[in-house]
């Protein structure tokens, strides 16, 4: 088997003395899409943030191919190879869409403007936002902003892309336009670690699912088997909470429709 792109070895992380990651290990191989799910506060975001050095691990090691990256000084060089998109709309509000896209490749990678610009236009077109190149972020909808954020990360040609609940702050009708872009990326072979609460998306996109609980990976498996019959009781309960929520939501929706008819 090929060497993994990313190798997380038994990392620990505590905030103010309380452990958030308590020994997490994880390998991600080239072209693999790993989806991380788990209850709120179990450490999913912290795990991703440790991987690209926004948080320092207390213990353990993180390797990107043959480079030890945990505790590294020149983290910005590593981050050029690990893209990350967050939950909040994090475009730079004082720059047009195109300038948001050009910043990383031109300043961090020192590529010439013309080359990047052509590529940026092409990618914008692919996500259906070509006509927004000269728009300011505040004129975009949430879903459009997140698509631009994805393009911005992809223009760095990262070896690994980390997505932390990128649809959690979106209105429901915009979720799929963003997730479709992610599924596209997966089909193109992008290596990704994705934290999400969208279970159907998780099932569709994942090569492997990790279920985290209280700072450890409690269960791990292929999406088909994990979602159908999780091995641990906690994972079962967690998945159940979603079906409950969605049946309830459906009930409310039909109720609302009835009221609308009356």
């Amino acid at each position: 088997m090929m060497e993994p792109i990313l190798r997380v070895k038994d990392i620990h992380k505590a905030f103010d003395g309380s452990g958030v990651l308590k020994g997490v290990s994880l390998d991600i191989h080239e072209g693999e899409v790993v989806v991380i799910i788990g209850p709120s506060g179990c450490g999913k975001s912290t795990l991703l943030r440790c991987i690209n050095g926004l948080e320092r691990v207390d213990q353990g090691e993180i390797w990107l191919r043959d480079q030890l990256i945990s505790g590294l000084k020149d983290m910005h060089l590593v981050r050029q190879k690990i893209g990350m998109v967050f939950q909040s709309y994090d475009l730079f509000p004082h720059m047009k869409v195109m300038d948001n896209l050009l910043l990383g490749p031109m300043k961090a990678l020192r590529k010439p403007r013309e080359a990047v610009e052509a590529e940026a236009m092409e990618m914008l077109r692919r996500v259906g936002l070509a006509e927004k190149a000269q728009a300011l972020p505040r004129t975009l909808s949430g879903g459009q902003k997140q698509r631009v954020a994805l393009v911005r990360a992809m223009l760095m040609h990262p070896e690994l892309l980390l997505l932390d609940e990128i649809t959690a702050a979106l209105d429901p009708e915009m979720v799929s336009e963003v997730l479709n872009v992610v599924i596209d990326l997966a089909e193109q072979g992008m290596t990704m670690a994705i934290v999400t609460h969208e279970m159907r998306f998780a099932e569709a996109v994942a090569d492997r699912v990790l279920f985290m609980e209280q700072g450890v990976i409690a269960e791990e498996g292929a999406p088909a088997s994990f979602f159908r019959e999780p091995k641990t009781e906690r994972a079962r309960q967690f998945l159940q909470s979603f079906t409950y929520a969605s049946t309830r939501k459906k009930a409310q929706e039909t109720q609302a429709a009835d009221v609308g008819l009356a």
Binding site: H76, Q80, F92, H94, K107
Partner: protein
């Protein structure tokens, strides 16, 4: 009768004297704004420093500036310090000292507010693009801080310009003082007071109005993040 009052304004060098007075006002204001901006940036950084002592020092400074009437500070420095330490401070120097003491703290607080109002995610998503700390400061944090700071800093500047009217109380011959001298000289013409003060009013207005228009314009252009 009333035309007599207005004609006095343009009699001899009266109008030039008013303009000279206005220049004194502006000179004090401009120097104060310059010092306040430069020191205010340092003050703002100090307010965010890790040292509790530094933060406490800034807080006390800011509180003093906020509850102390400017006039009291002016008197304290111009009359009080002069007697106590035998300093021979000119009125204009005292005024610049006092106003800068005030402006530095206010500007610093605005700077701190602007810098801390930038969401943490701005820094982090710039970092995630592989930019260095210096690049993040230059391309992301500084421009956004400037956009938030500039309209408020301009408003503070108009407040400083207005407040310079107080310096006539410590014998600085600025525009208001000149006006009063002219009124005194032509006391036999009752309408002269109206015309002089109306002129001074207009002068302040013509200076502060465009500035505050500019601030408003920048604010709407840059506000919605």
């Amino acid at each position: 009768m009333q035309d007599l009052g207005i004609s006095i304004l343009f009699k001899g060098v009266n109008f030039q004297r008013l303009l000279l007075g206005l220049w004194v006002t502006l000179r004090i204001a401009l120097i104060t704004i310059g010092i306040s901006t430069a020191l205010g940036l340092l003050f703002g950084l100090l307010m965010m420093s890790r040292s509790r002592a530094a933060r406490g020092f800034c807080r006390v400074w800011l509180e003093i500036v906020r509850f102390m009437p400017q006039l009291v500070l002016l008197y304290l420095v111009y009359f009080g310090f002069a007697r106590l330490f035998g300093w021979n401070l000119e009125g204009e120097t005292s005024a610049i000292l006092v106003f800068s003491f005030w402006g530095t703290a206010e500007m610093g607080d605005l700077f701190r507010g602007a810098l801390t109002s930038i969401p943490r995610h701005q820094r982090e998503s710039a970092a995630a693009l592989g930019l260095t700390k210096a690049q993040i400061n230059r391309y992301i944090l500084l421009p956004q801080t400037a956009r938030r700071l500039l309209p408020q800093a301009i408003n503070l500047s108009t407040r400083i310009i207005k407040t310079t009217a107080l310096v006539k109380m410590i014998n600085v011959t600025e525009v208001l003082k000149v006006g009063q001298q002219i009124i005194g000289q032509f006391y036999r013409e009752p309408s002269v007071a109206f015309w002089v003060y109306a002129t001074v009013f207009l002068m302040y207005f013509l200076i502060c109005w465009p500035i505050s228009l500019l601030a408003g314009r920048l604010e709407t252009r840059w506000s919605a993040g």
